[in-house]
């Protein structure tokens, strides 16, 4: 290769050279204290897998530089950064523990922030965070601010389903065995993807219903079934920021009503609602808040970020507390005051879960998920760390 491979000696006290590989000549003292170290393109760290509980991915949405976002893998036990994934704008993160792979949805342009648009699912392995494949999508994947259910891996790990909006809405289905697109399903008036426990999913629709989509084993739509109206969007809409708790998705409305949707059976079952806060608390304006303000654990636990200064329009405000609920008893177990207000939350999936909070100071607070005891704070997460994902090994699923 053309380059300047010069070996220069200077009359001064130091000399300089360019080396490739190990072919460097240096004068050697009688006893070398520290040995020469290798240089090479292969010298990248690996991450031990499976990831232990407590590993999270933090998404720096990078509001001031949208085309250059990232996902950082952090061990919340130690605060150590294990590595990162670079992504384009309005990126999404999904993963398969069975396949030990990340699926990053992103939008890039040929000239940075202008030019020809290209939408991709970039596939990475857990151990090396190395790009395995680029799956090229139609350039219409939904671009919105840190919305977890913009894409999802089905419960049987067979398919990645990607919500499109340009502004017509549809879902692209990707076969994860072949890592190729197998279908695109029209879904007029409906948005987002919430997987059930079998390998199908449902969407929320603008007419106040949900649309259940059944996939066959080729990833084609076998059936599409619309529910009755259950979501009074103009009066008190469901927030999209739901979490899976055991066999049900737990949605909260803007005013603070819980709407569980059970997905164990053949079709989604809309269960009776209950209120997060007492009537007194609601009169005192306690409401759910945070950008992604729910987290769930298979033990039936649901965490909801709350603000005492609620009003119509506060549903994305930072939250000052996180309330813990036993969803089977429909009872609150704890009120956890936060050291710093929350933008988004998640929980780790261990038997003793930890509550992980992306806060308004661009740092991450880690608390005991049941007692609320503050454990540590992790910094250096970028300028807009707005979303956290629990990716460590689990006894079940955390969301």
């Amino acid at each position: 290769m053309q380059n300047q491979m010069l070996l220069e000696f200077s009359t001064r006290r130091w000399f300089r050279l360019i080396c490739v590989g190990l072919s460097c000549l240096v004068p050697v003292h009688a006893a070398a204290e520290l040995p020469a170290e290798p240089v090479g393109a292969h010298l990248a760290e690996k991450i031990a897998t499976p990831y232990p509980p407590g590993y999270v991915m933090v998404h720096d949405f990078s509001f001031g530089a949208l085309v250059d976002s990232s996902f950082s893998l952090v061990d919340t036990n130690t605060g150590v950064f294990k590595g990162m994934l670079s992504a384009g704008q309005f990126a999404t993160l999904n993963y398969s523990l069975k396949r030990q792979r990340f699926y990053v949805g992103e939008t890039v342009h040929s000239r940075g922030n202008r030019g020809t648009r290209e939408d991709l699912i970039a596939v990475y392995d857990f151990a090396n965070l190395k790009l395995q494949k680029d799956i090229v999508l139609q350039p219409r994947r939904s671009n919105s601010v840190v919305l977890k259910n913009s894409a999802a891996v089905t419960a049987d790990d067979r398919f990645l389903v990607v919500f499109n909006m340009n502004p017509a809405t549809s879902v692209t289905v990707i076969d994860l065995d072949t890592e190729a697109i197998v279908s695109e399903i029209d879904a007029p008036g409906c948005a987002l993807v919430y997987p059930d426990l079998h390998g199908d999913f449902f969407m929320l629709c603008g007419n106040g219903t949900l649309l259940a989509v059944d996939l066959d084993d080729k990833g084609q739509a076998a059936a599409k079934t619309m529910s009755p109206v259950f979501n009074e969007i103009d009066l008190d809409p469901l927030s999209e920021k739901a979490s899976l708790v055991g066999d049900s998705w737990y949605f909260v409305t803007y005013a603070g009503e819980v709407q569980p949707i059970k997905v164990r059976g053949d079709s989604p079952e809309i269960l009776p609602r209950w209120w997060l806060a007492s009537e007194t608390e609601r009169k005192a304006n306690w409401r759910p808040a945070g950008w992604h303000g729910t987290a769930g654990h298979e033990d039936g636990l649901l965490w909801v970020a709350m603000t005492p200064n609620g009003y119509p329009g506060s549903h994305k405000d930072p939250a000052t507390e996180v309330w813990l609920f036993d969803t089977r008893k429909k009872a609150r177990l704890a009120k956890i005051p936060l050291k710093s207000p929350a933008i988004s939350i998640t929980v780790t999936s261990a038997a003793e879960p930890r509550l992980v909070v992306a806060n308004v100071e661009s740092a991450m607070d880690v608390y005991d998920g049941r007692t609320g005891k503050h454990l540590n704070t992790i910094h250096d997460l970028g300028e807009s760390p707005y979303q956290v994902y629990s990716v460590g090994i689990e006894t079940g699923k955390a969301n």
Binding site: M1, N3, Q4, L6, E8, R13, W14, F15, R16, L17, I18, C19, V20, G21, C24, V26, P27, V28, H29, A32, E33, L34, P35, A36, E37, P38, V39, G40, A41, H42, L43, A44, E45, K46, I47, D60, D68, S70, L73, T78, G79, V80, F81, K82, G83, M84, L85, S86, Y124, A127, N128, L129, K130, L131, S362, H379, D380, G382, E383
Partner: protein
Amino acid sequence: MSIFEKAAERVTRRIAQQSSRRGFLGRLGMLLVGATAIPLLPVARASSAGGPSRVPPQTTGNLDDPGDPSTCDYWRYCGIDGFLCSCCGGTQNTCPPGTEMSPLTWVGTCRNPADGLNYVISYNDCCGKSSCGRCLCNRNDDDLPIYRPNANNDINWCMGTTNVYNCSTAVILGLGPAE
């Protein structure tokens, strides 16, 4: 930077000029870090996007290789310019997962305070992911202008691999000459 820090920095600069610079700074640096943790030079404080870096402290585990590779005043970083791979999922001499070490780079000579010897350090960049954004350091001992490229740390040395820069390592190539 506070007036106090700038004053301390000016004092250490004047003292440094009057002594064998590298050796004295190395010793003074260790004293200061122990006592008051004032960084020596304005450009030597590690910063992340949005403020000073607060990553967990590290050690190499080797008494012959002292100091904290997640801070700018770790002895190998006397000429580093960029984000420290130690803060990015790599170490002082390996790249973070999924990046590639660029074979071409510039080299400097730094003094190891543990044994008093000078080592030739190769500042290989890790490439293929965007800016790590953590622990930004810039120290310019032995740096020369870019028309002497093999001695310059301003160049994006991600060449031959992808052009995109993630972080910088500091690999020991061998011993340098005695002072």
